[in-house]
Assembly symmetry: C2
Homo-oligomer: 131 residues x 2
């Protein structure tokens, strides 16, 4: 069993590098992504990876930083801040992992309303459903 | 110094009872409330208490339940779910406390977009600024 903190250490490395392969290696096959915008969960490793890579494009710029971490045995809450198009974005990544230290659930929440509306626009443009 | 878990245990009791006096006793004088809607923090115990009592009215009904807790030495993330007017609401309370175990920072984030829009309407009706 991988020590819990190593999942978060690996996550930080993925955020730092934006490496799609390292992200894939950190996700369980049955990983689920919960978006800040839509209620329905996105099921499976492929969709989770797609949404997280999309989130990197939207959220992670020079202003992005984690400002608080609460880490438990199987879950962590990582609070972040960034500025996008001049709008202050404050959010939290709620991450759960399995016995192998692989991420099984990744949930993002964002505040304030102005920021979530901006994220909605950005994610819709990036991840519009294909016909 | 109060054990960290006791702050969260006391918080759960406040949520269960909705007791304004017990809430006041759990807040530090310099407590700050961060709303899911507005960027600007609400400074001080009086405003924090007012917003939290407002949040009780909006969020806490028979469907409200905490579904995940990550608790650290000075911070906790408490994820909740409830249904309001038929809309599924998923959120997180990010709580920080001081050496005395009193809450100094209370931040709420909510997903999905439909839920935050509903909360916006409800909180605006309840906490409209007075002229």
């Amino acid at each position: 069993m991988t020590a819990p903190t190593s999942t978060i250490a690996r996550w930080h490395e993925v955020v730092r590098t934006g490496d799609a392969g390292a992200l894939a290696a950190l996700l369980a096959d049955d990983a689920v992504f919960h978006s800040p915008i839509v209620h329905a969960p996105q099921l499976g490793k492929a969709l989770t990876q797609m949404y997280l890579m999309g989130a990197f494009h939207v959220f992670v710029n020079d202003t992005f930083r984690y400002v608080r971490e609460v880490v438990g045995a199987r879950d962590a809450a990582l609070e972040f801040e960034c500025t996008i198009d001049g709008i202050h974005v404050n959010g939290v990544d709620l991450i759960a992992w399995n016995d192998d230290g692989l991420i099984v659930s990744f949930k993002v929440m964002v505040r304030p309303l102005k920021a979530i509306e901006l994220i909605h626009q950005k994610m819709r443009a990036l991840l519009a459903p294909r016909p």
